[in-house]
């Protein structure tokens, strides 16, 4: 099972990358722990999580290959 993590906006300034592939992540809480260990500054930054292009609330189980996006506050228009 593979998780593609897309990283946008100011979050990509923190991570230095706009995409990561992670393996064997059971749920989004675990994903966040993993990411915050890799990039401690992420933990202090406000962002939303989208799973397969839909914003999710709270911990969500990851089954099968999943697209996850880390979305800082929107500022289009």
């Amino acid at each position: 099972m593979q998780v593609q993590v897309m990283i946008f906006g100011q979050l990509a300034d923190i991570t230095g990358t706009s995409e990561l592939i992670l393996h064997d992540i059971p749920d989004t809480d675990t994903l966040q722990e993993t990411l915050h260990k890799l990039y401690p500054a992420l933990a202090n930054t406000k962002y939303a999580i989208a799973m397969n292009k839909k914003t999710i609330q709270g911990n969500t189980i990851l089954t099968g290959d999943t697209n996850i996006a880390l979305l800082p506050p929107f500022s289009g228009g």
Binding site: F8, L71, F74, S75, G76, G77
Partner: protein, 160 residues
């Protein structure tokens, strides 16, 4: 000629409501806006058009003066979200049509980065739909603006 409220087919058929690519590279030229207006002259059931244009401001910030904004988006998600907003707005207002265009990449201060265009038989629906579309897309579309200063430093835009 008006699309009935709550129905999913409008006067120009299903094609109007299929997901459309709202993004284009760079600023939106005034001539593009003129062409879009001109195309509606054959739609003689329209009585009012409402247009909102977002223009890049040369704001003075603590990091310097804004020279341009570089826009990025999660395009796939933004297109899907825009399609849902469009469906909601067509269900709520008796619109003849709606067009939305948003810049990606760098747009200079004074240039247009957002073009929202709604049309209906009577003015109220066009104006209300335009305003609601603008508010929703600013709140819901995964798009980010990076303000580039005259001194080449940058900061991320924050929407009010």
């Amino acid at each position: 000629m008006e699309s009935p409220v709550g129905k999913k087919i409008n006067s120009s058929g299903m094609s109007e409501r299929k997901p459309k690519n709202i993004f284009q590279q760079g600023a939106i030229p005034a001539t593009f806006i003129a062409e879009s207006i001109q195309k509606h002259s054959s739609q003689t059931a329209i009585g009012g058009h409402s247009i909102f244009l977002g223009q890049v401001r040369a704001d003075e910030t603590e990091n310097g003066k804004v020279k341009s904004i570089d826009f990025t988006a999660f395009e796939d998600m933004a297109q899907e979200k825009m399609h849902l907003i469009r469906e909601d707005i067509f269900a709520k207002y008796p619109l003849t049509c709606m067009h939305v265009h948003h810049s990606l990449g760098e747009v200079q201060a004074g240039e247009i980065c957002l073009f929202v265009f709604t049309s209906s038989a009577h003015r109220k629906a066009a104006m209300d739909a335009c305003e609601e579309t603008v508010e929703r897309l600013k709140a819901e579309l995964p798009v980010w603006g990076r303000e580039i200063m005259e001194n080449e430093s940058h900061q991320w835009k924050v929407n009010k």
